[in-house]
């Protein structure tokens, strides 16, 4: 564990905890009817975005999904503007035009959540192509679900990235569910990373609820990709703790099933246990981070609640340049 200096440990915990608390707050605001549209929560999957984004800079790109809050926060987007956007305020990243499903922060290389499942694959490949053409030392990452891996865009993107040896990492968040459908009933492989071989692509499976394993695996991917070997496929095994969207009656599975995973395999609990047992961090240090997070979230909520809605006249802004 030597490469885990305090900064890195702090970062990992900070990102995960921030996502968790952000999502918990979003959930209750949504249930209170204060957030418009619909939202998909990332609770229980925080280790993936956090473990991946810990190694990225603002010059690296990520393409995200409908379940994009975690990716956005992990990539370092300003929390105030994320929160404001989800509330539909004009101070949000998209000036209220996007909302939860279209959250984006181009200033940190976050190329957008996507309401189209599987819509991000080719965007990330294109960003990687730009990186290569610009001869930059960056990478592009696409997060996607098990369900998205059955879209044709998966295939076209992986093939193109491979033949053009583009600096892109495909990060599959296999949370076992695609809305109401267990992935095994619609996906013809147990490990989605098996498909990487069909594109002569290097691949790895990580424990998506262990931020250290995600971090290490992604580092390996990054080294591989940055050495000019072409794309890498990382499958992170996880589980969707919350309903598909907030409000999902979840008739397709039992509460017990979910609770069991959450109790036994909560990425934040696992991190805390590990760092405390191995003496890498103290409870005080953890608490400090938690307090920092609470304050940031409180601030973000205030910011969002006190922000104005866009004026109806803004309807016509930002269509064409």
């Amino acid at each position: 564990m030597e490469r885990y200096n305090k900064d890195l440990l702090n970062t990992l915990y900070y990102k995960m905890y921030k996502i968790r608390r952000f999502e918990e707050n979003i959930e209750s605001f949504f249930l209170n009817g204060e957030i418009p549209g619909f939202v998909h929560l990332y609770i229980g999957e925080e280790a993936i975005a956090s473990g991946v984004c810990a190694s990225l800079t603002d010059k690296d790109y990520i393409a995200s999904t409908h379940r994009g809050h975690g990716h956005t926060i992990a990539k370092g987007a300003d929390l105030n503007k994320v929160m404001a956007e989800i509330f539909g305020k004009k101070t949000g990243f998209c000036k209220g035009k996007g909302g939860s499903m279209h959250i984006a922060d181009f200033s940190v290389g976050m190329l957008g959540a996507n309401g189209v499942v599987g819509g991000g694959f080719n965007l990330a490949v294109g960003a990687a192509l730009a990186i290569k053409k610009q001869k930059r030392d960056n990478v592009s990452v696409v997060f996607f679900g098990d369900g998205a891996s059955n879209r044709g865009t998966f295939h076209e993107a992986l093939n193109l990235a491979s033949v053009w040896k583009l600096p892109v990492v495909f990060v599959c968040e296999n949370n076992e569910w695609a809305s109401t459908t267990p992935y095994r009933t619609t996906t013809s492989v147990a490990d989605i990373s098996t498909r990487a071989a069909g594109y002569s692509m290097a691949s790895k499976i990580a424990d998506g609820n262990d931020v250290f394993d995600v971090y290490e695996s992604f580092k390996e991917a990054l080294d591989y990709v940055k050495a000019g070997n072409g794309p890498f496929f990382l499958e992170a095994k996880t589980y969707r703790i919350k309903g598909h969207y907030v409000g999902d009656p979840e008739l397709y599975r039992t509460k017990e099933e979910v609770q069991k995973v959450f109790d036994e395999n909560n990425p934040i609990d696992r991190f805390e246990e590990k760092v405390l047992i191995e003496g890498l961090m103290t409870e005080v240090e953890l608490e400090e981070i938690r307090i920092k997070v609470e304050n940031e979230i409180k601030e973000a909520i205030n910011f969002a609640l006190n922000s104005e809605f866009p004026d109806p006249s803004e309807l016509f802004d930002d269509l064409y340049v």
């Binding site: 539909g88 035009k97 309401g115 059955n150 809305s179 269509l319």
Partner: protein, 322 residues
Amino acid sequence: MRQITFSQATLEAMAEEMRRDENIFVMGEDIARQGGVFGQFKGLSDEFGDRIMDTPISETAIIGAAVGAAMAGMRPVADMHFADFMGVAMDELFNQMAKIRYMFGGQTTVPMIVRAPDGLSSCAAAQHSQSIEAWFMNIPGIKVVAPSNPADAKGLLKSALRDDNPVIYFENKILYREKGEVSEEEFLVPIGKANIVREGTDITIISYSIGMKKAYEVADKLEKQGIHAEIIDLRTLVPYDKEAILKSVKKTHRLAIIHEAVKQGGAGSEIAAFVAENAIEYLDAPIMRFGAPFVPVPFSPPLEKAYRLDSDKIVEEILEKF
């Protein structure tokens, strides 16, 4: 007469026709376990078992396989989840489904239905709120229907399920929960026939699907000004009922077309152009189209509200031309 929701009406149509015709089956995402994103397939899998099939997130396979199964003697119903995702399978829809019968000289039929929930709901934003029926008016080989109420929803779906041509069935997300009278007797609503839902003498208002709500609002408000509007519910967009349109316009001498979809290049353009081509001499005023502005659907409530049709504004604009 009893009242049921639009959603229930589609369920009845499905169940009745599936009992009648064992070749009908349904494919789509989250339709068996969940009963559809909007509950529009709820309970069907209890009765029909594996004739209701949950698919992977693979829209090209859903449409493409439906086309293949239709050619091989089945009568598939393909659910698109949201009409917004039809773009994913656009090649299958327009280069395969629509053309197969003609291109192969009538050797086969492609009896299938594409069910496409469309329209604004509540802040679903740019990729989950669209109405794209106009594209399909430009593609020969498909029939297109867009019911506005539970009775039509049932009657048109039943007709579609007996039609040997591919039919796109646009079902509006907000309408699902609306109730209306639906006869307990069996009935069909013919594809291609418009419905004059209110007779009037002063202006013809044409609409379909959710647009009909605005049509009624507008007509009611005009009525208060002493203007008697005739309302035509188009019901079917391809083929649309040219006769009914001309007849009405020749009587009222005025025409307004209302739809929720983007105005530019929308279905209203075709209707307006058709009338300007065939009955311009009967018109006493400009043909007016009312539809969404030329921007994607925004998320935030005040923006979404500004995006929506506003019957007061429509009335105002109509009155200006009187």
